[in-house]
């Protein structure tokens, strides 16, 4: 763990980011999953595919204990980021509660079905996809932006299918997700200032290995993804257009700059393996 003046300066900057994030959240984004969602406007005839999408989101959001416990320990030394993680957990908890309430109050799932599903979900652990705070912060940018994009698409779908309740849940969740994304992006900007090349290489690494958190742990994930895809999931083109490029733009980083950082790393590695190597890919 870094210590000293640089570390203190980073701590101050991260705290200022958290302060801005939290103040804005308190002023503009607080909502109650039991009172602010119009459960009386559930469309009882909504197609099963829409309900499956809601259930899939609920499943992914249900790994909250793992996300919080494993994520917060990585950023424990950084007050601003650690406190953000605590607040993030609170906000994400409302997402799964609202979806759970929707599924039960709509009558499309019984409480027994949902708690049986919860038990099956908890039989597997979510593990951190990356092992450093910087990489997980970058992962946070991409994951929150991807989730935001999916929620926005599903909000529109729910509205078209006449389910005002579900479209409200998706809208509230989407608004939280983009706020989380902005916080992560602002932290990455700080990290870029501290170590631009290293952070660029980490962006490339995280983007290359990026997977949504439900992969491999949510039951019947492949079948669920098929439904999500048909109902507007993020595919390869959408990922680039709506997730990756917008994140890079916000970070004021070009894809060419990332490639240069990756290529120079490859070159350094080859040079290390073969000191006579002079060519750059």
């Amino acid at each position: 763990m870094a210590t000293g003046i640089k570390d203190t300066a980073r701590q101050e900057r991260l705290y200022r980011l958290y302060r801005t994030f939290f103040d804005k959240a308190e002023q503009e984004r607080r909502w109650n999953p039991y009172r602010d969602v119009p459960y009386d406007k559930i469309n009882p005839d909504a197609p099963e595919c829409l309900v499956t999408v809601a259930e899939t989101f609920c499943c992914v959001e249900s790994y909250l204990p793992d996300y919080v416990s494993k994520g917060i320990n990585l950023v424990r030394p950084y007050f601003g980021q650690a406190w953000f993680s605590a607040n993030w957990g609170y906000e994400e908890s409302k997402h799964s509660v609202a979806l759970l309430e929707y599924l039960i109050q709509s009558g499309r799932r019984t409480p027994e079905q949902m708690f049986d599903l919860q038990a099956r979900l908890m039989s597997l652990d979510w593990t951190l996809p990356f092992d450093t705070a910087r990489r997980m912060t970058i992962y946070g940018c991409l994951q929150e932006m991807a989730t935001f994009v999916i929620y926005v698409r599903q909000e529109q779908r729910a509205r078209e299918l006449g389910d005002e309740c579900l479209s409200t849940i998706f809208r509230l969740n989407a608004r939280d997700e983009i706020a989380h994304c902005r916080f992560y992006e602002d932290v990455v900007k700080v990290l870029l200032e501290e170590d631009r090349i290293g952070t660029l290489r980490d962006i490339a690494l995280v983007a290359k290995g990026f997977q949504m958190p439900g992969v491999g742990i949510v039951p019947d994930y492949e079948d669920r993804i098929k439904v999500m895809r048909e109902e507007g999931k993020v595919d390869r083109a959408i990922f680039l257009q709506k997730v990756y490029f917008p994140v890079l733009k916000y970070l004021e980083v070009t894809r060419q700059e990332i490639l240069d950082a990756v290529w120079s790393e490859k070159h350094e590695r080859r040079k290390h393996e073969d000191p006579q190597c002079q060519t750059l890919t």
């Binding site: 983007a207 290359k208 390869r236 083109a237 959408i238 680039l240 990756y244 060419q256 990756v262």
Partner: protein, 84 residues
């Protein structure tokens, strides 16, 4: 000087081999890039390398629509003819 489509196809094959560090048996213009086992970020690396070799810059918004090798070659051709 603008390259022909066959030259661009060869460049794609050579660049893809370098980037993915794997030989490809046959690549044609009809080849779907993802079917080569190249993901979207791998494709960006190939595109970036080709841009550098050709001294051009393709617009980000156009890259998301690339599915086949032909899509990429057409994009490069379009950029080269616009620059000519």
């Amino acid at each position: 000087m603008a390259q022909s489509r066959s030259e661009l196809l060869s460049m794609f094959q050579k660049t893809a081999t370098e980037v993915v560090e794997r030989e490809f048996a046959t690549i044609s213009e009809k080849t779907v890039i993802s079917e080569l086992g190249i993901d979207s970020l791998g494709m960006l690396e190939i595109v970036g390398s080709m841009e550098r070799q050709l001294r051009i810059q393709l617009p980000d918004e156009a890259l998301a629509g690339i599915q086949t090798v032909a899509d990429l070659i057409s994009l490069v051709e379009k950029k080269q003819s616009a620059a000519a």
